[in-house]
Amino acid sequence: MGIDLSQFHHIFFEESFENVDLLEQGLLALDITQPDVETINTIFRAAHSIKGGAGTFGFQMVADFTHVMENLLDRIRSGQRTLDQDVVDILLGSVDCLRMLLTAAREGGEPDRALCVAQQERLEAALSDSRPASAEPAGEGEEGADSASARVSEQTGWRIVFHPHPELTQRGNDPLRLIRELKELAPARVTCDSSQLPSWDKYEPTRCDLIWTIELMQVVPRAQIEDIFSWVEDECDLAIVPMVKNVVLEGDNSSPSQASQESRPIAAGVSQIASMTEENENHDKKSGQVTRPPTSLPSGHTISQSIRVDLPKVDALINMVGELVITQSMLNMLRDEPELQGYDRLHEGLAQLQRQTRALQEGVMQIRMLPISFCFSRFPRMVRDLGRQLGKDIELVMSGENTEVDKTVIEKITDPLVHLVRNSIDHGIEPSEAREAAGKPRTGHVWLRAYHQVGNIVIEVADDGGGINRDRVLQKARERGLVPADGRLTPQQIDELIFEPGFSTQEAVTDLSGRGVGMDVVRRNVQALGGSISVESEEGKGTTFIIRLPLTLAIMDGQLIQVGDETYIIPLVSVVESLEPDRAMIHYVGGDTETIKLRGEYVPVIRLAEILGVHQPVRPALEDGIVVIVETDRQRYGIFVDDLLNQQQIVIKSLEDNYRRVPGISGATILGDGRVALILDVDGLMGLLKEKEGMVHE
């Protein structure tokens, strides 16, 4: 029977890329002076697993390449090869190469063979240059596997391969008794490979020639399993291997049955057992399929902690909930209808519907949430490589990796973060000598922190470098005409200048940050996500960039406002306050720029009707209408509107799906009555005003 292996390719690639990440994280986590056995095993298992899959699915280049990597890792694991920085570097280089090979295989593209051959030669050179380890690798730990692997994979149980030697029964032990004991620990699935049984004429009833595979469907302490086998450990071959399931939410075509295929073993815990597993796999090959677990587990026994879901399915669900929110807000509007007054149960029901809708919405949005570690995980490698490249000693400290945020936010925030981290390493952290001269520790630190703060996620990129050199920033800004030569700025205003378009203080454009992409682009990207970025810096002590982002891009709280017969929405997060100005507050600056004086500060006012071309504003004079004070990263200003309507949660819809970007508008939503309302882009509006004024002055 021909089985089309290509149906498994998708899952193979997904799993392999995850294993490549594991490999990389493991290598980066290794302390070469005191390598942790479990980390080395994790690394080895990842490579082993890729090799196995690649061979099975016919990706020979991947299999061959991984084979050499695995050999080197095996030498390290068994102590035949010292672990030093060179080896780690070669292995990290190999990780990149492996990623390239996998990508080419997945996309059917042509791999960079030269790179692959060169890297393979490096690996082989390291192999032949085997220096035995001076000391046994220290450390241990089974349950306490390193965090890198714990984050990506989740153990679902144990797979035990048990091959009794003939003398086991001859010493009064009974394999069935042991299996029975295992089954008392947890629900188990037992398969038996009888391919080792001799032919009938040579059969000896007292010998035991069977190989059992027992899959425990729950995680129990490994010691409990080992305990059961303690009497017979020398009378059998035994492998106790964690069964893992990878926890990933990604767009793919996995069905629940495919999800359970993932619960399969990766290789073993201690080297002796690992080689055992290989032996058993060889048995499998000879015998066909006996010990190979069936591809789908009986549902009653599976303890499934997660399932894979198609991203489009999730988004369809989110859309549907969005519709529900709109329907709900429509019903809410009906509440005030005169003919519906007095129906208490209806009103109670509506209130309940509102609460439930909100809860449902939050629950559904959770599905799209991923830990920020999906983005952070690239930084250890990057910091390490950049540090080496620049000859700076840098330690990266990350915290809050488990903070959850919308998948799209993760995808889009990565580039700005990369830029900030590069910036910290390149411009922030001083060379080691300079640090020592300044009485600071040689090793520079970069912190990457994430945490939640009232409906937002905050990400900080901090360093203990030299801080922003305000004199130089100011000087540059003056040279570039960004500030008048005699302009007086507060330290904070000076720091803010680095976000100005085209601003860069680095005269010698370095390879790292100076690629013509400035902080202004970072700010723009953050703002495109509905977020903001600010900077705090202390000369000589360091710099911290603080990014605030909405938890989700799909929903926000909005202030509905009216101008003429049009309704717009201002994101509530930008609104500082709303006021009805009296005449005394209104001032004209430079002839025609309207401002209101608010607690001693002159705040410019934008007339929304004018800037957006609304036909009939109801209230032409500022003192007749309402000014909504909003705040952006750049400044605070007022938006003049006719009326404030209610505040409500809105479902954000893209204008670009069927239309195009509109200046001053960040998106649209559907109101309770089914009408479309536009969401104001608070930052973009200010730009529009400047443009307009610029035109007037010309």
Binding site: Y659, I665, R675, V676, L678
Partner: protein
């Protein structure tokens, strides 16, 4: 395409003239409803409507073709059509005076648009055919929504008013 290949077209009227679009592009017909005006839009873009949760722009076909405008009435409909834009499927609405029939036209029966001066911009016309003794103008939906394809020629504006 072979000579006998025929395609179906949805016809509608703008004033006295009959226009047609490829029926395969039609997604839905809706009655006219209030739209939300978009700032900085072109003159022919009426605004946005909510189509089951999607934000869809609506084009006033009369304005787009440079014809005189008239108030919308109970016969006014919005035809939702699909189009490709930057490798993405988009939906747009077209406001027309009145819906007519679906007709079949063979490839041979379609003539190139004549090169004479017309009331409408010939870039929007993909051909002419005849139905029930009347001329039917086949519209090119791709240029219709291409915002780069010129606005209403100023000199025609006065003529048609």
């Amino acid at each position: 395409m072979s000579d006998i290949a025929t395609r179906e077209y949805l016809t509608f009227s703008l004033g006295d003239e009959v226009y047609a679009i490829d029926i395969l592009r039609v997604r839905e017909i809706r009655s006219w409803e209030t739209v939300t005006r978009v700032p900085f839009a072109n003159l022919w873009e009426c605004g946005l409507v909510n189509v089951r949760g999607a934000i869809v722009p609506v084009t006033d076909l009369r304005r787009r073709l440079g014809l005189s405008t008239r108030p919308f009435d109970k016969h006014t409909v919005v035809i939702l059509v699909g189009r490709r834009d930057n490798d993405r499927d988009k939906i747009c609405g077209l406001v027309v005076d009145q819906l007519n029939d679906v007709i079949s036209a063979s490839a041979t029966s379609i003539q190139d648009a004549p090169r004479f001066r017309s009331r409408i911009d010939m870039r929007f016309v993909s051909g002419l055919t005849e139905h029930a003794g009347r001329m039917v103008i086949l519209l090119n939906l791709d240029t219709l929504f291409d915002t780069q394809a010129g606005a209403v020629p100023a000199d025609l504006e006065g003529e048609t008013q």
